[in-house]
Symmetry: C2
Subunit: 135 residues, 2 copies
């Protein structure tokens, strides 16, 4: 399951897509509109900024906004930033790979199954973008 953090991130990003190119949006505005704890949201947006999904402007008239066009940011990217691996096993993860102990990948049946699941999942999540959040 996606963490609350990731779910909030998507709610916030949806708002930013809806207000794309209308100038910076206040954290407080997003917090109110989407009913997300202000301080928690603050840390989420900052993390998204540090990972090049968002950009911000400080001081009066500042706020957050999307760094790129909504169609350029993939859902998979956001999930990886917020929650880490998408795969069900470390040994099939593309971005967070870890060898499994006591198990030979060549002849591990679960490995194969989970590789299939990963491919099917990524086929969706690496093609859908923030644009798809608003239809």
């Amino acid at each position: 399951m996606l963490s609350k953090k990731a779910q909030y991130a998507f709610r916030a990003l949806t708002h930013l897509v809806e207000n794309y190119r209308k100038g910076p949006v206040l954290i407080a505005d997003i917090s109110k509109k989407k009913k997300i704890s202000l301080k928690f949201l603050e840390s989420i947006l900052l993390e998204l900024k540090k990972n090049d999904i968002l950009d911000s402007k400080k001081g009066r008239g500042g706020g957050y906004f999307l760094k790129e066009h909504p169609s350029q940011t993939y859902i998979a990217t956001v999930i990886r930033i917020m929650d880490g691996p998408i795969s069900m096993l470390p040994c099939v993860s593309l971005y967070f790979y870890q060898r499994c102990k006591n198990c030979d990948e060549k002849k591990c049946g679960l490995h194969d199954i989970m590789e299939n699941v990963r491919d099917a999942t990524l086929k969706i999540l690496e093609h859908r973008t923030l644009q798809d959040l608003v239809n």
Copy 2:
């Protein structure tokens, strides 16, 4: 990601598939062969028994064994017992559904995407069985 518990469960189940119809297998044997902490494994097997995946015999000559033929137990079933929901959002889960607050499922873009992911995932996990763990 699958929890260690679920991963251990699959390792243990693999062993039980390999020894299907050779009589009850000792927890201690599985623990040694698959290098899983004995006591932790004990609780895992018990949980699988309570959920009708395994059966056991007590006393001397006892042990654990599969309740049904390996081809009759789906990977998805085991995951749900060990880890709960497979879906990425509560509002798209079939077995653990929960309405999401502050979000209208009819017009929530993320909902649609995650429904697709769920379908793609279950298409695999609800067709592969314990038999597939050993090729």
